[in-house]
């Protein structure tokens, strides 16, 4: 019926146009295009309550989020532009690098004035931390540069002061940091050392005559690199450096160093250079720093883990340098959690745009004179985009789990947080890039326009797979941690406990020889399949490493050689852990439309994980069963098609933060808008 209507409308337009005579008529009809934009709001409907769904996805501080969205939408500082009768806010990426940096700073100042950062460092507790997470997620939806610059200031510098520092540091710095009367950066990475923090070359000695530390950059590879905020704005930094006391290196320590005065002049004995234009994130002023025997007072050592007495004695309650280093690194998990979560929100932006576009853009008719087919009505388009919805839902639940784990942290849960945040950060950021690329392609040429966001975001977010730990390195750490669990359990002859590995204590699950649709959609089967892969890969990894060791290889070398299994295992752990959070989220719901649609999504998520080549390679699935999995995925995609609009509307991203192609793209591109 809809199609017949569409066709008649096209015909009417043609007829009217040919009979137009008076000038007024021509004018009125020339704006009447052959194709009309039909908003998805008209053609699609909601089979479940999208507000409830949003609450489930966002989970906390929904009011707060909307307040902040509104705050940005209403200000000129956030570069509002009208397209197709709607306001969109997004940075002007056509500005020069310098202008983008200044705008980022202006936006921060605007948000500061409105009290957005109130309590970010001076309030503690779960509620304050969750609020911070929520605000950060919203800010990252607007712009990654804005979020990154704030992340460096509040979470890296602020976090370091909170966690590495002691009371006098807190008293001296936290308030000034929160109200931005100082602007801060975090100088850890060097040209020669990134993920391998322990290898950094900056050296600090202590001068007991003056009670000062002396920090120096001994060689070019020791210059601090990629330091966000350093190139233009930062007044203070935390310098990571080897601490050398009386000729003995005590490992990496952190020092507060002022690098600019209040007027923005670079301090003596500091040299700063710009990292230059980047493939994205040009609103962040990344810089390089050299220290030329910079002297800082003894109190500037962040001394929660180790201290130096006035007369120059090294004091630490943690004797083992490895443990000391681990204690140092623990706070960085906060940043990792933030990165992982904001990757999920970015993927939401991309997918909401691509789905909305696919619900309004048509291409090719099946028969002559028939209206063209809506992109999302092509099974191939469904197969490309709908599994991504399932991925995003799964990641949202996993992100909520991770945030809770983080805010409820105890010394005992540090290891779990480290493993979970490492694996989720790698998985989410990789997924984000994959999702954005698919969305870009799904939007065709429109995906290439910067104002449409999907394509441009790839450049802005690419860095996520590198900063705060290279994804591959993180995944290897996950596998190493799992191996350590395995060895510990075997040694003590104890059951597995923690990291979700309890399934290892049970008998090995068996995959039925013939998978039916019912089995494939059963959450028990799905869990079994994912556990089976994790269990088997962990066994294989342990066996391979120990085999290499028995051949005389060192443990380190054995790990390096087993990288394939290590990566497969990391992914297996991650997929299973994410899936578990999905099952748990689903279990909290009473029977109803919400639970039904989540059940379908859960199955889709499980099946795209099970589609992974490892299942065939290691023989968990027969060729026939692998075919059945694929067939089921296609079927689920067509079942999800009617829910696609409601599912992306539930992301709760305001229209202004999507892009023109997500709405009336015909009017947005009309001659009158030129």
């Amino acid at each position: 019926m809809d199609r017949a209507f569409q066709r008649s409308k096209i015909l009417t337009n043609h007829l009217l146009q040919s009979s137009a005579s008076s000038p007024a008529r021509i004018r009125s009809l020339s704006s009447n295009a052959c194709l009309n934009y039909t908003p998805p709001e008209f053609s699609e409907n909601y089979a479940f309550d999208i507000k409830e769904m949003r609450k489930l996805l966002d989970r906390h501080n929904v009011e707060e989020r909307d307040w902040l969205f509104g705050m940005m939408r209403q200000s000129k500082v956030f570069n509002p532009r009208v397209r197709g009768g709607k306001v969109f806010v997004s940075p002007d990426y056509n500005q020069s690098m310098e202008q983008q940096r200044e705008m980022t700073l202006k936006r921060i100042e605007y948000l500061l004035e409105r009290g957005v950062f109130k309590g970010w460092l001076t309030e503690n507790g779960e509620e304050a931390e969750m609020r911070k997470f929520a605000c950060f997620e919203v800010l990252s939806i607007f712009d990654h540069s804005l979020a990154t610059k704030l992340g460096v200031h509040f979470f890296l510098w602020g976090g370091a002061i909170q966690f590495f520092g002691t009371k006098h540091h807190h008293d001296k710095w936290l308030k000034d940091t929160e109200n931005l009367s100082i602007r801060c950066c975090f100088a850890m990475t060097e040209l020669g050392h990134g993920s391998n923090v322990r290898g950094i070359e900056t050296v600090t000695t202590y001068d007991s005559n003056t009670g000062e530390f002396v920090i120096s950059t001994p060689c070019e590879s020791a210059q601090k690199y990629w330091i966000g905020g350093a190139a233009n704005h930062a007044t203070h930094t935390i310098a990571f450096s080897q601490l050398n006391i009386n000729g003995t290196s005590q490992g990496v320590h952190a020092f507060i160093v002022q690098i600019r005065d209040a007027d923005g002049n670079v301090c003596p004995n500091i040299r700063i250079a710009d990292c230059g234009h980047k493939i994205g994130l040009n609103g962040v002023d990344n810089g390089r720093i050299w220290f030329d025997n910079v002297r800082v007072p003894r109190e500037n050592l962040l001394n929660s883990v180790a201290d130096v007495s006035p007369d120059g004695k090294y004091l630490s309650s943690i004797k083992d340098p490895d443990q000391r280093f681990a204690a140092f690194m623990a706070p960085l998990t906060g940043g990792r959690v933030n990165i992982a979560v904001s990757a999920v929100y970015q993927a939401k932006v991309g997918l909401a745009i691509a789905i909305r576009y696919a619900l309004t853009r048509r291409a090719f008719s099946l028969k002559p004179n028939e209206p063209e087919v809506l992109l999302l009505d092509y099974p191939s388009h469904q197969r490309r985009l709908l599994p991504l919805i399932a991925k995003i839902y799964a990641m949202s639940f996993a992100a909520n789990y991770m945030k809770m784990l983080y805010v409820k942290r105890t010394p005992q849960s540090n290891k779990t947080i480290h493993v979970v945040s490492s694996s989720f950060k790698a998985t989410f950021t990789w997924n984000n890039m994959q999702i954005l690329q698919e969305c870009r392609e799904a939007c065709g040429g429109q995906g290439l326009k910067t104002e449409n966001r999907v394509g441009h975001l790839k450049g802005e977010y690419d860095v996520q797979s590198t900063f705060e730990g290279d994804n591959h390195v993180l995944m290897q750490q996950v596998s190493k941690a799992l191996l350590a669990e395995y060895v510990a359990a075997q040694k003590r002859n104890k059951a597995f406990k923690g990291l979700g590995l309890e399934h290892m204590n049970k008998p090995c699950p068996i995959i039925p020889s013939q998978l039916t649709s019912t089995t494939l959609r059963c959450s028990q089967f799905q869990m079994d399949a994912l556990c089976l892969r994790e269990r088997d890969l962990l066994n294989r990894f342990v066996a391979e490493v120990s085999q290499l060791k028995s051949k005389g290889e060192s443990e380190e070398h054995a790990f390096i050689m087993s990288y394939e299994l290590a990566e497969d295992l990391g992914r297996a752990f991650s997929d299973r852990a994410i899936f578990q959070t999905f099952v748990e989220a689903e279990a909290t719901l009473a029977a109803g439309s919400l639970k039904d649609v989540l059940g379908i999504l859960r199955s889709l998520y499980a099946l795209i994980c099970i589609e992974d080549v490892a299942f065939l390679q290691y023989g968990y699935l027969s060729v026939d069963n692998a075919t059945a999995v694929r067939r089921e995925i296609t079927k689920i995609c067509s079942e999800l098609r009617p829910h696609a609009f409601a599912l992306v509307s539930s992301f709760g991203i305001p229209d202004a933060f999507l892009s023109p192609i997500a709405f009336d793209w015909i009017d947005a591109n009309s001659w009158s808008s030129v």
């Binding site: 007024a24 009309n36 934009y37 908003p39 939408r73 009768g85 409105r114 009290g115 709405f663």
Partner: protein
């Protein structure tokens, strides 16, 4: 026109001129306050005109010194007292449906705002494509003083005013003149009232629904009014700083901080106005405008309908009845709000107004389907 005209239909006068229809709100003694009958009649007419290819343009104006002073709430209160809250709810159901129809109308509506435009009057005009202000225009959303909240889709249009001007206008009920209406976008044109007859005549000759053509016709009679030096619109910086705050309490303390910096009569008066308004109204109004900023006009009206039903039902607060008593019936201008202070209202209480009404056979507002019309981009953008 029809020969047997009932008295109720006289409350809306209809004039047909080739492709234009002029609807005149005709209850001048009540400042054209919208009665249930008027709303029903307007709805009926708008629905019919949309289907009628001979209608290309709808002009709406008011008889006498008001365009429309709002919904006839005194009558609503009377109905509720006599019958039940659902009688009141029914009024708003019709009114909001009309607001939605106007907001998503496939043909241009030109509202001539030559006088008072308040509450429901704003709802019957601002949603339309063109709003013509004059030197006689007086705009206000005075609901918070009455124990109500800015409804009729105000959470949509107020939240889209520049910066946080919408929060200011919605919470304080501040009055705006024609120049201010034009400056902030509530009006699309300003035409001196002396030129209105010529404008109306010109519009009656139009044979097109093209907004560009209609806009250019109105442009011919337009003047650029200058803002009064004392205009609140010149205080946007203060308004943005204060009314962007997260809660009503924080807005008030931000205003009080401003007064500390320098004595300012306007800010003090603003504080006084806020302190006199119903605390519950302020809280739900702020929440509603904030939500409206991120929603289309349909969801805004659905939400406002929930809210207004809670208000009519009076289970959470009876401020609306108290406000009507003090301002419209007894006219002692001294309402006793309950709860009496902002601090006494928990977030959970505010939440109640946004939840479904727990009452058998109550339903969420069902908006008319608009998909069968070829909506102009102006309407599509509001969805």
């Amino acid at each position: 026109m029809a020969s047997s005209v009932s008295p109720q239909q006289d409350e809306v006068l209809v004039e047909a001129n080739s492709f234009a229809r002029t609807l005149t709100l005709n209850r001048p003694k009540q400042l054209n306050a919208l009665s249930f009958q008027m709303i029903s009649r307007l709805l009926e007419l708008f629905l019919a005109y949309e289907e009628d290819p001979n209608v290309k343009l709808v002009i709406v104006k008011g008889k006498g010194r008001a365009f429309c002073a709002g919904g006839d709430v005194a009558a609503v209160v009377r109905d509720i007292r006599a019958d039940c809250w659902k009688a009141g709810a029914n009024f708003f159901l019709k009114e909001f449906t009309l607001n939605y129809l106007m907001a998503t109308y496939s043909k241009p509506q030109v509202s001539i705002l030559n006088g008072i435009v308040m509450g429901g009057g704003a709802g019957a005009s601002v949603h339309g494509r063109f709003r013509v202000a004059t030197e006689n225009s007086v705009f206000a959303m005075p609901e918070t003083a009455l124990g109500l909240f800015p409804d009729v889709g105000a959470s949509y249009f107020l939240s889209r005013l520049p910066g946080f001007f919408g929060e200011y206008v919605g919470l304080t009920g501040s009055r705006l003149d024609g120049a201010e209406m034009l400056a902030c976008g509530l009006a699309t044109h300003f035409v001196p009232s002396a030129k209105l007859p010529m404008l109306e005549a010109a519009l009656c000759d139009v044979d097109s629904s093209d907004p560009a053509i209609i806009s250019s016709i109105i442009d011919q009679y337009c003047e650029q009014p200058s803002l009064n030096e004392q205009s609140v619109y010149n205080r946007l910086d203060v308004i943005d700083r204060c009314f962007s705050q997260k809660t009503v309490e924080e807005i008030l303390s931000a205003l009080e901080r401003e007064v500390v910096h320098r004595m300012d009569g306007w800010i003090s008066a603003t504080i006084q106005t806020l302190k006199k308004a119903s605390p519950t109204s302020l809280k739900i109004s702020l929440r509603s405008i904030r939500k409206g900023r991120l929603q289309g006009v349909g969801p805004c009206l659905v939400r406002e309908y929930r809210m207004v039903c809670h208000v009519m039902r009076g289970e959470v607060s009876k401020d609306f009845f108290e406000g009507c008593r003090a301002l419209l019936l007894d006219k002692d201008k001294n309402p006793k709000w309950e709860p009496s202070k902002l601090e006494l209202i928990a977030d959970g209480t505010v939440d109640c107004y946004f939840s479904k009404v727990n009452n058998e056979d109550w339903e969420d507002l069902k908006l008319p389907t608009r998909s069968k019309f070829n909506l102009p981009p102006f309407a599509i953008a509001k969805l």
